[in-house]
């Protein structure tokens, strides 16, 4: 039943210098349905694949608004994610209450990481079994962070987590270099394409995905973190499918070229 004698509690090291319980928690992230996040200089988009536990049930919410300027998407134990998003909300409200200014996204990710880290160093606790993509906006533009149960966190241009996320990561790795100058519309399209990669054959519709966006317009006004309307998602999916069918041959040849370029780019895995 046990893999070895060093995995029964979080605080015991293995002789090889590993903490197995923490690594198991990281595995939980891979079990959940996929989430992707990507950002331009001004906008950040989060998308999640919704999977119902059974035909008869609804799916769990996977994208949460944290404040006007930030939100999260999560993969893994959604119950843990709910607790963490509540924590993030109260951090944002407290910061706004005390300083009359929004909490910078980097600090939001840091608070979350510190909270996760505590669980890796206390014998009576267990690590959170959820990975979070934190997307938000601050003075320095749009940001995307990935927080894992180990307490590590990384900033990304684009990232995917959850089951079959490798397919989405491969898609994003091929295209991320252009993301900085993308329009919100282009970001949403790429987010949906990345989610589609994780569905493996299953059809992408507006009912099995959630997309949210936050960003700053050219005139400096903030577009608050918002779930994109189901109707609009379906329109975008339809237009993507129409475009796919028409110039299929042309798209194939150009993507081949991009693939050659992408081989020496840094791998996006941790």
């Amino acid at each position: 039943m046990f893999r070895n004698q060093y995995d029964t509690d979080v605080t015991t090291w293995s002789p090889a210098g590993r903490l197995f319980q923490v690594e198991y928690a990281m595995e939980a992230v891979k079990q959940g349905s996929a989430c992707v996040g990507l950002r331009s200089r001004t906008h950040a988009v989060l998308a999640a694949a919704n999977k119902a536990a059974s035909e008869l049930s609804s799916h769990q919410r996977k994208v949460f608004r944290v404040a006007d300027h930030a939100g999260v998407a999560l993969a893994g134990l959604t119950a843990d994610g709910r607790v963490l998003s509540r924590f993030l909300r109260s951090e944002c409200i407290n910061h706004a209450f005390v300083y009359d200014a929004p909490l910078p996204v980097s600090r939001l990710a840091l608070r979350l990481a510190d909270k996760a880290q505590v669980c890796t160093q206390r014998s009576w606790k267990r690590p959170y079994g959820v990975g979070l993509l934190v997307a938000g906006l601050d003075e320095s533009g749009a940001h995307l962070y990935y927080n894992c149960p180990s307490g590590n966190y990384f900033e990304y241009q684009a990232f995917a987590i959850g089951s079959r996320s490798q397919a989405a990561k491969t898609f994003l790795e091929r295209r991320f270099e252009g993301y900085n100058d993308y329009t919100p519309e282009q970001l949403i399209k790429d987010a949906l394409s990345a989610i589609k990669e994780t569905l493996q054959g299953e059809k992408l519709t507006s009912s099995n995905c959630t997309v949210a966006i936050v960003g700053r317009k050219d005139d400096g006004t903030v577009e608050p973190f918002e779930m994109i309307d189901v109707k609009r998602i379906q329109e975008i999916i339809d237009s993507m499918e129409a475009a796919e069918e028409a110039p299929a041959a042309e798209a194939e040849s150009s993507s081949m070229q991009e693939e050659d370029k992408g081989t020496d780019a840094a791998p996006m895995d941790i």
Binding site: R65, R89, S90, I93, A96, F97
Partner: protein
């Protein structure tokens, strides 16, 4: 307060009025901020729009008012996160009462009138004392000019007794423009006698279409 060493409050004056109609609510307050015989500023808003159909006007100690408004705004944001909708005016009324009573033994020095629309779209006014006792009425006045304004409103609007059976609706029969005109008149009158009321009148009108703010000048002396 003697055990706290000194009197920790100040009265910065000001008057707040709210009138509820069948499908609107008018919330108004002057913008003067004063201590004793000194005017600190002639342009300080006492009205806070806490939700989309809800405005709170408070007079008393500016520091406490600011803290109270901030507190309620944060609580409203939390409510939005948890319920996926804005808070209703009656819910905010209860929250304000609880917030004031929570500090029963070191109160916010704030006299509040809360106005807005209830879930049926009817105008509502809630009037408070400093420790959270509150009542839903058709109109109310609070603050330094309330003793001058309240009897005029009683005379013009005639609130039905809350003890009447069956209960009678408290909203006033006036139209929206009539109510706004009445508010302007009572403030102009109060300004004549109350040294803490004056400079400018801020009027917030809440109806189905949304919220609009307007300002008219009052005497500056």
């Amino acid at each position: 307060m003697s055990r706290r060493g000194d009197w920790v409050y100040e009265n910065n004056g000001g008057t707040c009025v709210a009138i509820a109609g069948a499908d609107y609510c008018v919330v108004a307050a002057d913008t003067r901020l004063s201590v004793g015989y000194n005017i600190l500023t002639r342009d300080h808003s006492k009205i806070c729009e806490l939700a989309d159909k809800c405005a709170l006007a408070s007079s008393g100690f500016q520091g406490d008012i600011k803290a109270l408004h901030k507190n309620l705004a944060a609580r409203e944001l939390l409510y939005q996160h948890q319920h996926n909708k804005r808070m209703s005016c009656p819910a905010m009324a209860q929250l304000l009462s609880n917030t004031l009573y929570y500090k029963r033994f070191f109160p916010y020095y704030a006299f509040n009138v809360l106005g807005g629309l209830d879930s049926e779209g009817k105008g509502c006014v809630f009037t408070y004392d400093a420790v959270g006792s509150y009542e839903r009425t058709g109109y109310s006045a609070q603050g330094t000019g309330s003793a001058l304004i309240m009897p005029v409103l009683d005379n013009q609007l005639k609130s039905p007794s809350p003890l009447l059976l069956p209960a009678r609706d408290a909203v006033t029969p006036l139209s929206e423009t009539e109510a706004v005109d009445l508010v302007k008149d009572v403030f102009a009158s109060a300004t004549e006698r109350d040294i803490y009321t004056g400079d400018k009148l801020e009027i917030v009108v809440i109806n189905k279409a949304g919220t609009k703010r307007e300002y008219i000048d009052l005497r500056k002396d």
